[in-house]
Amino acid sequence: MKEILIRIDGKEVSAPAGSTILEVAKQQGIPIPTLCHLDGLSDIGACRMCIVDVGGKIVTSCTTKIAEGMEVITNSDRLAELRRLNLELIFAERNHVCSMCVSNNHCELQDLACDLGMQHVEVPYAYPRLSLDASHPKFIIDQNRCILCGRCVRVCAEVEGAHVWGIAGRGSEARVITELGIDWGDAEMCTDCGKCVQVCPTGAIVEKGKAAAEMEKHPELVTTLKERREND
């Protein structure tokens, strides 16, 4: 495959054409914060955490493919500020109450707040009144904790092939839905596989019967599953 030369944080590197900036950064051991990205699923640039600077323009590194002579900066004061503001907006948009959450201490959103040094949420909290669907016999979807990363939608379509999950509405009105908006328990296409639970980065999609801080997830299972399928 054709190799392309780019400069990333001042360092000249070559990578196969078609690689994304995020992939190249990972290969080089350069950390870029991510939230909606998961190895094994397609990238959609939903969360905007992985932004980088390409010649002064801010782009999502998970969806931007490298091009010859590209100059990429993965970390700067401006990027740190934008990422933190973005994170604050995610926190403010729904009702994230870590102390009461089943995913407390095992949450990618909570971890990111630590990693990015978010001292507090400066933007006003929206406090929307949102629903919780516990109609499925094994799982729950709590919209209060959903960050609209779309991992559930992608894993269900791309790995399980069931296409149960979708996103309805736009902007702050957007919601993850099961089968065109019916109760999850009535969704006949659902195979009860639980992959959406494992990949959900927060406490939005969880197993029933868990108390605060008891829900541990393993998104890497999906990554491994996808790798093994491709290698067979």
């Binding site: 109450v97 102390s99 959450c101 630590c114 507090h120």
Partner: protein, 177 residues
């Protein structure tokens, strides 16, 4: 040596942050040499004193009394610290924010749910339409995350301030919940 004047206040929270403060254990003995607690739920002072060096605020701003008092506290304190998730984010108390105050009070006290069947409106302060984190009402200098913040984080912040340094709260110090 003049002691540093420290106050702690308790707004809409469960007292867990104050418990965590007490969990400083033997560090409290060292702190007692250097600080004087001039106002706290465990100190019998009615008025919030003047010239306070550091005030630790536990709890969110949930009613009119909190709203008035927190502004007085800001005027009388050099440094204000939001202690714990309720003060920093609104946390559990703010879970009522999607519900109107009337609907909330009706839900709790209305429809003969209590023996008197009335909504309390005397003596207790009026609830604000929305519970707010402290920084939405006054300027906050430092934020201690956690429900409650670990005693080590409270200690780290206080010791840094006593040494005239800026508390360096990074990584897991910033964990909510």
């Amino acid at each position: 040596m003049t002691k540093v004047r420290v106050a702690t206040v308790w707004f809409s929270g469960c007292a867990g942050c104050h418990m965590s403060f007490l969990d400083l254990d033997e560090l409290l003995i060292d702190l007692a040499e250097r600080i004087e607690i001039v106002k706290s739920p465990v100190v019998d002072t009615k008025e919030f004193p003047e010239n306070v060096d550091v005030t630790l605020i536990e709890g969110a701003i949930a009613n009119e009394e909190h709203y008035e008092l927190v502004r007085e506290i800001r005027e009388r304190s050099k440094i204000v610290i939001a202690m714990g998730d309720c003060a920093v984010t609104g946390n559990v108390p703010s879970m009522r924010n999607g519900i109107s105050v009337n609907e909330l009070l009706e839900g709790v006290y209305g429809n003969e749910r209590t023996t008197t069947g009335t909504i309390p409106n005397e003596v207790v302060p009026t609830l604000l339409a929305r519970v707010r984190p402290v920084h939405e009402v006054i300027h906050v200098d430092y934020f201690l995350h956690g429900c409650p913040p670990p005693a080590a984080v409270i200690g780290k912040a206080l010791l840094a301030l006593l040494d005239g340094k800026t508390p360096e709260l990074v990584g897991r110090d910033l964990k909510f919940g």
